[in-house]
Amino acid sequence: MTPRGEFACQHSGEYRPPPSACREPRLVPLVAGPYSPGLMREHIFGHRHLLGIEGLSRDDIEHVLDLADGYVEMNRQPEKKNSRLRGRTLINCFFENSTRTRTSFEVAGKRLGADVINMAVAVSSMRKGETLIDTAMTLNAMHPDVLVVRHPESGAVQLLSEKVDCSVINAGDGSHEHPTQALLDALTIRRRKGGLDGLIVAICGDVLHSRVARSNIALLNVMGARVRVVAPRTLLPAAVERLGVEVFHDMAAGLRDVDIVMMLRLQTERMHGSFIPSTREYFHFFGLDYDKLKLAKPDALIMHPGPMNRGVEIGSEVADDIDRSLIRQQVEMGVAVRMACLEILARDLGNGPPLP
């Protein structure tokens, strides 16, 4: 099969057909979800890796959310384990510190019965590029089934994925994508609001550096929501409106009539001398408090990918408001969504040569 042509991956020349070119989803037979009262429609996911939301179809996304719904129920039972990934090896390969996301993936893998290994690679011990590939090849030789990778540089996870035979999930690469975060955010919204079509979602804060923002913008647009970004000009990337968002520089205008307010963490470590004069000024003009929230719809809900800087991008009283804040639910949905992603990617393993 020629590796060139319109479906060629521009980095490695690998043939990668778009999802629509894959086998059509079979309508029969129906399969049982892991713990759901009914039956789910089978869907062929058609991607070897989960590197980003970009490239996923609406059906792909809904399939993940449907499966994850079932896992939410299972996670609330005393017996919260199945054997979908029994005998499989999952390695969490984190080149950037994270306890929350890594723990979430670890719990997810173990509940599916996988063997989970955690690898934390200190970035300072790495020279760029070469050692990443060395690391990938070393791991590959140990035959993992799924690698979950987080890296401080955009595109690094894709680079690694091209060097291994297993499936790779991107747990966050630089400022580029964090697909499982966007998926868990979508599940959180869907369970509370019944769907995402037509909702107005405002993503507020440090969009410039945020992979969570980029993944969410992509997913919300695919699912028919209307997306706004609200930030000072110094925290917005150039041409951001080309991603399919309405741009606001003022919370009063940006939050008007909004259904969901998604606050991004202000990365204070990047603040000195750079983008924002002080946390005090930032909170005054861009932080979420009740004064600003009252401009949104009366039943508007608040989300935050965590960890929060209380008093910087979000006030405590708003974050802890159990009627308006979905922040705790997001964490719960995170495990279920990651379980769904792991199961879906592992489905085609052992059934012949890896999917392209």
């Binding site: 000072p232 000009r233 110094t234 520089h249 003022d250 000195h272 001398g273 750079s274 983008f275 924002i276 004069p277 002080s278 005090r280 000024e281 005054h284 003009f285």
Partner: protein, 441 residues
């Protein structure tokens, strides 16, 4: 009971904002202008209104000086808000805008509030303040532009220093734009201009003084204009002095960029020959330029490329200026000479009278969005009354400012302030012996 009223009769009313230049009268009521126009004095006004006959003197909006250095807080012995207020009053300036390079600098809301309180206590010329663009004027971290603007700062600048780092300047412009705030830049690329005390050329070479290329001004202006283009922000270039920079701004304006600029009287009244024998009163930043640049400044004022004339009042005591040239500080006082030197442009037929006055009233007021610089019913009664033709010699030892550092001592000029009024109160009135008597009716 209504406010006290006063009628100024028989004036030459001048209001560049409305293109008004006519014989007429102006009626004050309390702190505001109640009415103006011809024949007010005849219209059956109550006989008990205080009436002053101006004998044909000019009556214009009080001057708006958009670049003034007051040394309070930090060096009040050189100039305080009070002495600066008296100097302004003697110069016909009713609104001045102070740079933030005080000690401590105006980079925090508390200092803005201090200055506003002091100005209220002193009750002379109105004082507004710029806030620092970067913390400590160090050129690295932005100040709290949103909060400072909300508390009264009218613009953001690092004062006598340029914001040198292009990325910081870009972020400053982008962030200031979010709050619709003006950034004012001292246009000097410091790596090219910083060590220079005078303009490169024959005079500098003969005197053996460190010199800077005039292109240091152009390079910074061009850089900042590109940053304005990509950020869509508003920029004001302070004290332009070179033909090249003025031309760059002219082009940028014709392309629709939101840029304005001002110049100071030394740059159209003097050239580098004024340095003479190492006169430190001629040591300025930007330095005095060659004659062709001086003429380009006049051309820029004439065609409107230069929107305002600001004094760049820089008070220094004797200890700062009575030194060898290289050790002396930069700058001269200018509040009290702003009007007569600006009027030289009129008397030498470079600009008409309303255009000259526009550059010191509605021009700067418009750039900063201030309610000042115009005559109109209901506007604050901030006025200057001056004798357009009275010839006199500048005597620096008669300055009301605490500092007397100016190179104009002995210069013969035409046009002298007779009275200055703020909110209807006379804050300066020239003693009778000092003016030519008003023309009889």
């Amino acid at each position: 009971m209504s406010e006290p009223r006063r009628l100024y009769r028989n004036a030459r009313l001048l209001d560049p904002a409305n293109g008004l230049d006519t014989q007429g009268d102006l009626l004050l009521e309390g702190a505001h202008i109640a009415d103006l126009g011809t024949g007010l004095g005849n219209a059956g006004l109550a006989a008990d209104i205080e009436t002053i006959d101006l004998g044909g003197l000019c009556l214009a909006p009080g001057l708006v000086d958009m670049r003034v250095q007051l040394r309070e807080p930090g060096a009040e012995h050189m100039e305080s808000i009070e002495s600066g207020g008296h100097a302004a009053a003697a110069g016909g300036v009713t609104t001045m805008v102070a740079l933030p390079n005080t000690e401590p600098p105006v980079d925090d809301v508390s200092v803005v509030e201090f200055l506003a309180r002091r100005a209220r206590e002193v009750k002379l010329a109105k004082v507004h303040t710029y806030a620092a663009a970067t913390k400590g004027l160090a050129g690295k971290e932005l100040t709290e532009i949103g909060l400072l603007a909300a508390n009264g700062a009218v613009g953001f600048t690092d004062g006598v220093k340029a914001v040198a780092n292009a990325l910081v300047m870009r972020r400053l412009l982008a962030y200031a734009r979010s709050f619709d705030q003006l950034v004012v830049q001292h246009p000097e690329e410091p790596s090219l201009g910083g060590a220079g005390e005078v303009t490169e050329g024959e005079i500098a070479t003969r005197l053996g003084l460190p010199a800077a290329t005039p292109m240091a001004e152009l390079i910074m202006v061009e850089r900042d204009l590109r940053l304005v283009e990509i950020t869509g922000a508003r920029l004001h270039v302070a004290h332009v002095s070179t033909e090249a920079a003025i031309e760059a701004i002219r082009q940028a304006k014709s392309r629709g960029l939101r840029v304005t600029c001002d110049t100071a009287p030394p740059y159209f009244a003097l050239n580098e020959t004024a340095i003479g024998d190492y006169r430190t009163f001629a040591k300025l930043s930007p330095p005095l330029r060659c004659e062709s640049d001086r003429r380009a400044v006049i051309a820029g004022l004439r065609d409107g490329t230069i929107d305002a004339i600001a004094s760049d009042h820089s008070p220094w005591d004797q200890d700062s200026k009575r030194l060898p040239f290289s050790s002396a500080t930069y700058g001269i006082v200018g509040l009290e000479t702003l009007l007569p030197l600006a009027l030289e442009l009129y008397h030498q037929s470079h600009l008409n009278l309303l255009d000259v006055l526009r550059r010191v009233t509605i021009g700067p007021a418009g750039i900063l969005g201030l309610t000042a610089g115009r005559l109109g019913r209901g506007n604050p009664a901030d006025l200057v009354i001056f004798d357009l033709d009275s010839t006199w010699r500048i005597r620096t030892d008669e300055f009301r400012s605490k500092s007397k550092n100016a190179p104009f001592d002995g210069r013969e000029v035409r046009g002298r302030v007779a009275r200055t009024i703020v909110d209807g109160r006379t804050i300066f009135e020239r003693p009778v012996g000092e003016t030519a008597p008003p023309r009889s009716q």
